[in-house]
């Protein structure tokens, strides 16, 4: 009896192993070319999606040059819609920063405008202000400075909405899409990267508020989980040179 039990277990386990190893083998084989240097000619183009002519993807998250969790983010000095320069260091009494790359036109960005306002209204008084940065090239007038001023006024943004002049800041952070959130602590360490919550389309159907949970954990000195999430978003429009 014991022998039979062992035999059955062995067969089923090896079937299991075979099944999974085949899968993982296929995957290594598939992803292998990306690791071959000859398939990635030319210089990396600042982590911009859509650039380069590389046959294998060269702008995946894994190859991005942006900040990773725990990295110290760089401060910036960017023009706000009221003409004033805003830097993180200039935001007094902050215990952390909700830096969000967002824009005027992207449907996902638009769906989150009200939620960003609510987030700022609740958390700025607690020391976690929202700082929105538009990473898109102002070549497209709909994403330009005046359009930003107009949109902020229409929606009644309660947070700064900054121009990423020369598109220098978003590649440093590694923002790939809009909206894309980077939660920083007081020392500018990156604590959370990702999306605002788990349902872009419908605020009422949200089950997990990733950013709010991350702030709560940061406040309580607890581990942030998840500290990294993904979402569908609009690609950031780089300057056409």
């Amino acid at each position: 009896m014991n022998k039979r039990v062992l035999k059955t277990a062995l067969i089923s386990m090896s079937a299991c192993i075979l099944f999974f190893s085949q899968n993982s083998h296929a995957q290594t084989k598939e992803t292998n070319p990306a690791n071959q240097p000859e398939n990635r000619p030319g210089p990396p183009n600042g982590g911009r999606p859509g650039g380069g002519g590389s046959p294998e993807q060269s702008e995946s998250l894994a190859q991005m040059k942006g900040f990773k969790l725990g990295d110290k983010a760089t401060d910036f000095s960017l023009k706000n819609i009221d003409g004033k320069l805003i830097s993180l260091a200039g935001l007094k009494n902050a215990k952390g920063y909700i830096v969000v790359f967002t824009c005027n036109e992207c449907p996902f960005a638009k769906l989150y405008e009200d939620r960003l306002i609510a987030l700022n209204n609740e958390y700025a008084p607690k020391g976690y202000p929202v700082i929105a940065i538009n990473p898109n090239s102002p070549e497209n007038a709909a994403e330009g400075y005046e359009a930003m001023q107009k949109r902020a006024k229409e929606k009644g943004f309660t947070f700064p909405y900054l121009v990423d002049e020369g598109q220098k800041i978003y590649p440093k952070y590694g923002a790939l899409r809009t909206p894309h959130v980077f939660l920083l602590d007081k020392q500018l360490a990156v604590k959370y990267i990702g999306t605002i919550d788990d349902n872009a389309r419908s605020a009422t159907d949200v089950k997990v508020k990733y950013v709010e949970n991350a702030i709560q954990s940061l406040e309580n000195g607890a581990e942030i989980s998840p500290a990294f999430t993904k979402a569908i978003g609009c690609p950031i429009k780089a300057n056409s040179k």
Partner: protein
């Protein structure tokens, strides 16, 4: 010891179930493939293709996932896109042109447009651009739960393209700049040793 037996058989059973549950869907897809193929072939002579977009199937990720794999040697291209995504719209003609020039290719356009925009935006767009490829709408709001299942290195930005057959596969988080760019990429993926 008997608990081990239960565990072992249940593991085995689960395995069998999971394999079985995938198989019929793949078969279904093969059928769907041949159907869409024949409709495409017939539409190549006429311009009646646009009428096939009166409704577009809406999938959640579970239903879409089997379409990302094939047992066939044919070149498959799955492109994640949306009407609101400018670079996606820019590369669509290259994908369409490739599929037209290579009738043995299966091109699937996975639209991330919201289902409520289907009649007002997506279908009019497809008609105006005379898109004849197979289109499905992916409606699965918690993208964080499925993006990694498509490809762990995908950030979620679109356009995103998978080129594959039964033995090779490549992932592209980029915009194809030209038909030539797409051709080369497909060639490198499918014809590599």
């Amino acid at each position: 010891m008997s608990s081990l037996l239960v565990l072992a058989t249940s593991v085995f059973f689960l395995n069998a179930v999971s394999i079985n549950s995938v198989m019929p869907e793949e078969n279904k897809f093969e059928q769907a493939e041949s159907v869409s193929q024949s409709s495409q072939i017939s539409s190549k002579n006429k311009t009646a293709a646009s009428s096939s977009f009166d409704t577009i199937p809406v999938y959640d990720f579970k239903n879409l996932e089997p379409l990302l794999y094939t047992k066939s040697k044919k070149t498959h291209i799955v492109n994640f896109w949306a009407v609101w995504c400018t670079p996606c719209v820019k590369e669509l003609p290259y994908l369409e042109a490739y599929a037209k020039n290579n009738p043995d290719t299966e091109l699937l356009l996975v639209s991330l447009d919201f289902p409520e925009d289907m009649n007002s935006k997506l279908i009019p767009f497809l008609k105006s651009k005379e898109i004849t490829s197979k289109v499905v709408v992916l409606d699965d709001p918690d993208a964080n739960s499925w993006i990694d299942k498509v490809y762990p290195n995908w950030s979620g930005a679109i356009p995103f393209t998978i080129i594959f057959n039964n033995s090779n596969r490549s992932f592209h988080e980029k915009t194809f700049e030209s038909l030539e760019d797409l051709l080369q990429t497909i060639d490198k993926t499918i014809n590599k040793n």
